[in-house]
């Protein structure tokens, strides 16, 4: 039986501006939202959102400190709960990152995170609005224009097999902008800060999950 209003849990692990994500979600869909670092909320939610800005190491450290690393792993892998990861959140989904020495991520999607190696005229961080190329026009991008602009701000990016890549972007070379595998969707850009395109993407995502609940 489908539930009318999904419960979304934005995972609060001390990394970044959760308010932006809340503001955007409040604007897009009717739902129950919680911002939490408590296991019971992760348990009872239909959708998990893993946001994040900051450095990879701190993020993993904070998750472990709050005893959320294994809990999240269980929710996503064993319970197959839908997860949307944003920016640093997307990077955490991978096996490892070279940021701050080599660090281990969740490893839910095979691949690594490396620093931009673009030619000199490309400044790092990659900061601002850039257009993505959607590789797989599924429900997520319904109603969104061709080559849509989204807001990026990052110095590292994900490298993974192209079977998982749903959108790419070009900054000196092509890099991964969005990935999907089973119940996991992740964006390098910030939908919550990408005005119309971003709000529509968030709405599409929630609607696609609602249909499955």
């Amino acid at each position: 039986m489908s539930k009318a209003i999904p419960k979304i849990c934005i995972i609060d692990y001390g990394m970044g501006n959760l308010r932006s994500v809340i503001n955007a979600l409040e604007h897009t869909v009717k739902f129950d939202v919680c911002v939490s670092n408590e296991k019971k909320d992760l348990d009872s939610s239909d959708i998990l959102i893993l946001p994040g800005v900051g450095s990879f190491n701190d993020a993993i450290g904070n998750l472990r400190e709050r005893d959320l690393f294994d809990k999240l792993d269980n929710e996503v892998i064993n319970r197959k709960k839908p997860l949307m990861a944003i920016c640093l959140g997307m990077q955490l989904v991978m096996e490892s990152s070279e940021e701050g020495g080599l660090s281990q991520g969740f490893g839910w999607i095979p691949g690594s995170v490396t620093r931009f190696q673009a030619p000199n005229e490309y400044r790092v961080p990659h900061m601002g609005w850039d257009n993505i190329k959607v590789k797989n026009r599924n429900d997520l991008f319904e109603g969104i224009e061709q080559d849509p602009d989204f807001y990026f701000v990052h110095s590292y990016h994900v490298n993974c097999d192209k079977q998982y890549v749903i959108a790419s972007c070009d900054y000196g070379y092509e890099f991964t902008a969005a990935i999907q595998k089973d119940n996991i969707v992740a964006f390098q850009f910030h939908p919550e800060k990408s005005h119309k395109n971003g709000l529509l993407l968030l709405t599409n995502y929630i609607n696609s999950i609602k249909g499955q609940l």
């Binding site: 959760l18 308010r19 850039d130 110095s155 119309k196």
Partner: protein, 269 residues
Amino acid sequence: MLKNRLIPVIIVKDKLIVQSFNFKRFLPIGKIKTAIEFFVNWDVDEIIILDIDATKQERGPQLEVIEWASRECFVPLTVGGGIRSIENIKDVLRAGADKISINSYAVENPQFITDAAIRFGNQCITVSIDTMKVSNDYNVFIRNGKIDTGIKVSDWVKKLERLGAGEILINSIERDGSREGYDLELLNLISSNVNIPVVACGGVGDMRHLASGITEGHCQAVAAANIFQHTEHSTIAAKAMMNKLGAQVRLSSDVKYENFNFDHFGRPV
């Protein structure tokens, strides 16, 4: 490709938006929330809010202002004024800011830039610089342009990049409120000395000036305050003009002014 950004700066004094003239005279013009709602729908790429009273009054950022300002702000929001601790940054981000801007305190305590960048990531830390030519060099000024630190701006920006700043917001004190256009010599000096994004600010009096910050000043983003505050659709007109003059911008508004000409004030006609 990565677009050149257009950023309105909302200068706040006593919780009202003001226009600034050479950092000396301030004309109150309206409410912050109204301005943000308009700007977001007028195709701006980011918004900067600078609270120019905070350092002077020795107080921290006004969190309730940021909280309601961010509610309808679906583009990145940078907040500056009164940030002097990691705790301040945490509070400001929690209230809804995406980036923070530091000015005087970066000079007083450079190590803070590094600490903040490690904690929140480089991309979160914008350093704002007020500068003016003293004899033949541009010097860094602090405390709303009142104190000359004697530091050369070209040395300062290189140091800031090493310390971990993610972006530079460069403001010319002499051009502030002058409507003469950006100081292109200054912009080139900054953009050629660092490899992080540079945002131009100070002196825009005509929408054509915005494009010059990109095409001649070689900055990655252009900011202005006063010019956007009095004209309907001002930022959309600005983007149409930038596009026409060869600066690649994001055009997402339903109104685009693609086939219009612009009058002396940059208004579409």
